[in-house]
Amino acid sequence: MEARPASAGRGSPAYNMMYDLVIVGGGPGGAAAGVYAARKKMKVALITESFGGQSVVSAGIENWIGTKSVSGLDFAKMLEEHLRAQEDIDLLQPDLVEKVEKAKNGFTISTKEGKKLETKTILVTTGSSRKKLGVPGEKELDAKGVSYCSTCDAPIFKNKVVAVIGGGNAGLEAVVDLLAYATKVYLLEYGDKLKGDPITQEKIEKDKKVEIILNAQTTKILGDKFVAGFKYKDLKSGQEKELKLDGIFVEIGAVPNISFVKDLVKLSAYGEIAVDHKTQQTSQPGIWAAGDSSDVLYKQNNISAGDAVKAVLNIYETLNKEGGTRGGYTK
């Protein structure tokens, strides 16, 4: 049997086909939604660049219920296998949604690979991506000393001087990753104290190679071909200071991946998709959202999966109730 091209997923979308549901995203939310929708015999497609979501870079996930410990990569494989085990779901991977437009009976979705899908409803489970500093030099020196993945890139900075921006858990863990290689690690935090777990704080505070700088606002990354240093403002004194170093690891949180629907749905103050937490409906009839791209209070794999299931059940119910009303909440 000839292998099916992965880019076409499990059967390419047919022309003039109207999906009941298109799921956007392949993290725990998208995967859970795909499994439930397929089992409900909905006409469903799932579009994603890759599987697993943000945890894919995790060395070990210890809280995915039913699994004592699993690496991010294996977690991604578990989700993908569970999806591929469903009989009727069109998986468009790797692909990316570029545009969503309102159509007569639903929506038209356009993808990066040039596909067009018609659907009655959409579930957004696109999660979030790493937040950028937004300072001069960051973009120009991206991957030239500026990194967003300490587990990936730490070894490249063997015997070098580096800084980690962000004093949350991710920042503290980046410091730990880097201590194995770098000769000196600066840790800069915007606030007046570190926010990560005390146990990790204690561990890094003990290390002589670490220098913690609080009340520091990064203003500029310096360097020609590669990072050579950076400037920050001491928020207490108002003074601008400069450090010479070779690498900067940015760990300052996440931003929801919602650009493709931002004009269609109401957003929270943090740019997340605002949902009715009972049903996961957005302000736009026909569009639901779950997981980190929504304004859920806790960004967790288990919660994303649960909320996405909730959304699918509500979509199923709404479509069955029809024939015209397609959800949408008002606040």
Binding site: A6, S7, K144, T151, C152, D153, P155, I156, F226
Partner: protein
């Protein structure tokens, strides 16, 4: 036609693992350089890619940075 493929990686980098699994799944042969240990390879990687991130994949001299499944498929005519 067999292509000459090199991957510069670190042992902890998930995207490197994904790239290697992608090669294996598609029966593509490759040579791996661990830049966490191999300083010569690290310099070579920086020189080739003009940057410091992993993975760096060299397909017959064409350099890609990171793991992008769509791009790799195109580069390998898969």
């Amino acid at each position: 036609m067999t292509k000459n493929i090199k991957i510069y990686s670190t042992p902890t980098c998930v995207y490197c693992k994904m790239a290697k699994e992608f090669f294996k799944k598609n029966n593509v042969e490759y040579t791996e350089f661990n830049v966490a240990e191999d300083e010569k390879a690290r310099e070579e990687m920086v020189q080739k890619s003009q940057q410091l991130g992993v993975p760096v994949i060299d397909i017959d001299g064409k350099i890609t940075v990171g793991f992008n499944e769509s791009e790799l498929k195109k580069a390998l005519n898969l």
